[in-house]
Symmetry: C2
């Protein structure tokens, strides 16, 4: 609905004065992107055309104009707009054609970042290396930040262990957050509070040993690929209701081709039979959404793709297709390895997108578990 | 890092007084979710245990406790916390175990929604049906909102047409926003400004006829499935660098099984040959990332899956794997139908996630284009 200029201006006026002010978005080439001009006005700085920046953006835009086969002059006013920055601002480099900026205003350091999350993260990393931002960070004391992650437990089970072990306070801030069947505990530990944090961590590790799976924020697909690579195993996925989400998450990790061979999205029963070799008798006796079909899919995809480990997902994502015996949210998973078979039955709440997302997350956790076991068995 | 109570309280104090105040998140069962208690404090309301709500949440939690095989009492304090609401608040129903709420505070209506986007949207739809929210909406005049969407053009090309046709003003607010190679123009039209909005709309339709593809916000995967269903055609996807994203987007649409048959994620060259029938000579002569391989993949997946229409994606998503001839961002797409073959070569900017996302979006647009053509040819 457009960024209202008055709202933006009020936000800048309110935040200038803080040590560090970070903005995201509103850097595009068109008139309705107003972050830079508003910042200049509030900070009382002239807007100046930075000619080095104009050349840099112009270079990118020339490529764009060729790719889109449009004359360069269509872009010219946009280039000038994006190369015009507040006096004293330092460029962080380009996100697309938009420069990120750092600007010191009295005691504040303002970091202007692009909106798209990937670009924001990339330029934020550069902002962290600039002198003004480094000075702000050095002045702030960095608390110790510990992470513990759990799968297959409700948030409240984790909260109870935390409470019994002394809970929040004594210099430890605790956040417990559930997302797609994972529960993440963040401990922010002030200096001197390490022993209370240690006690909390020990209690969680001792009382919930099976559920705890990580002490960092790496996504589960990365943990799965690391476990597979360590053991020289290749992975294949056979998906029905998740329709490619498991494969997409695994292939989102750079270098995943080393351990992920491929996947088959067998939406149709005919494909479960023709591509994955699920016997007709299993489909007709147990149905497409069943533990038996899931097992046959996981074993079948190992053969079809020629991989060591197969994982499968079949379920009712909804909103249609549910029956009293097989309601929306019922999902069967199966993992098949040279040494083990493991099944999981889920009854997932939520709409179609939530069921699919949670089923894919669970399939990755099932893979993680069987790969951790096979490493354990080998060792 | 935890929601700081002071920050929350200040935000409530600042926003109470507006006609409508909407919050999201902070409704979980644990102590660090503080939205409801903070609202009660700022609004000067007692917190009361709503026993009907307690029974409703208790029912859901009993199911959870059985699923997770944990004793019910582990959850009890969480149930009580989530059933305790400000006096006078009305429940919107549960998101998981958390109730959404509507509360009137003097001249303000406060709507308390959960954080997860799907749940937020579901309960927001319910909030819109409540008497207090309806009253607020009736008091506000609703401007006419028009949408125009384009593919394969830079934002600035669209902006130039808009400028030449008179641009913003005269009662029309314009937002131009680019996302994954789509450009969306939003026109918010105040009463009396319809003729200027019509002129803008006409100019865009006449000057950019090939690029304009929709006048609503339905995602491109939905447009593709509608076009296929109308013509009784089935679709299959063969993916390399997108690793399942195209299939995942198509299957995200309810009822997609009617037109989407299945997909093959052929990450490995061996699978491109064994599952998709890409000839060895094409792979060795042109490489896996080539127009020739893309064409063979699209044709091959039609046969493998038994579908009418095949779409394929092969490219270098990065960060590794690029060469001077085939740099990161090079992607070949191909669509194969009974009546037509269409290829697309892309040079995509951005990191691995952006290249994959944009390649998947482009593959869907290529499908949309060939399906729109085949409908045209048939008609």
């Amino acid at each position: 609905m457009g960024d209202r200029p008055e709202g933006l201006e009020a936000a800048f006026r309110e935040s200038l004065g803080a040590g560090l002010v970070v903005t995201s978005g509103g850097l595009g080439p068109t008139h309705d992107d107003r972050t830079v001009e508003t910042l200049a006005r509030v900070a009382g700085r002239e807007l100046v055309l930075d000619s080095a920046l104009e050349r840099e953006i112009g270079g990118v835009v020339r490529g764009l104009s060729e790719r889109f086969r449009r004359p360069y002059e269509e872009f010219e006013s946009g280039v000038r707009k994006q190369a015009t920055i507040p006096e004293g601002a330092e460029s962080l480099g380009l996100a697309g054609t938009a420069p990120g900026l750092v600007l010191e205003v009295d005691a504040s350091v303002v970091v202007v970042l692009p909106g798209p999350p990937g670009e924001l993260q990339r330029l934020w990393a550069r902002a962290l290396e600039t002198v003004p931002v480094q000075r702000v960070l050095e002045a702030a004391s960095r608390p110790d930040h510990r992470i513990l992650r759990f799968f297959g437990l409700p948030e409240s089970a984790v909260a109870r262990v935390v409470e019994r072990a002394g809970g929040e306070g004594e210099g430890v801030d605790i956040t417990i957050c559930a997302h797609d069947l994972e529960v993440q505990v963040d401990l922010v530990v002030r200096p001197g509070a390490e022993s209370h944090a240690d006690a909390l961590q020990r209690a969680l590790a001792e009382e919930l040993p099976r559920a705890m799976f990580a002490d960092d924020e790496r996504p589960v697909e990365e943990l799965v690929l690391d476990l597979a690579r360590e053991q020289g195993l290749s992975i294949a996925a056979a998906e029905s209701c998740t329709g490619g989400l498991v494969a997409a998450r695994l292939t989102s990790v750079p270098g995943s081709s080393e351990s992920f061979a491929g996947g088959i999205v067998a939406y149709d029963n005919r494909l479960k039979r023709d591509l994955l070799g699920v016997p007709d008798v299993i489909l007709s006796r147990h149905g497409a959404v069943s533990a038996e079909t899931a097992a046959a899919m996981a074993q079948g995809v190992r053969g079809a793709v020629g991989a060591d480990v197969g994982v499968s997902v079949t379920g009712v994502a909804g909103p249609g297709g549910g029956t009293p015996e097989k309601p929306v949210g019922l999902v069967h998973l199966h993992a098949s390895t040279p040494g083990a078979e493991e099944a999981m039955e889920l009854h997932l709440p939520g709409d179609r997108a939530a069921v699919r997302r949670r089923a894919a997350a669970s399939a990755l956790h099932l893979l993680r578990r069987v790969l951790a076991q096979s490493r354990h068995t080998r060792a």
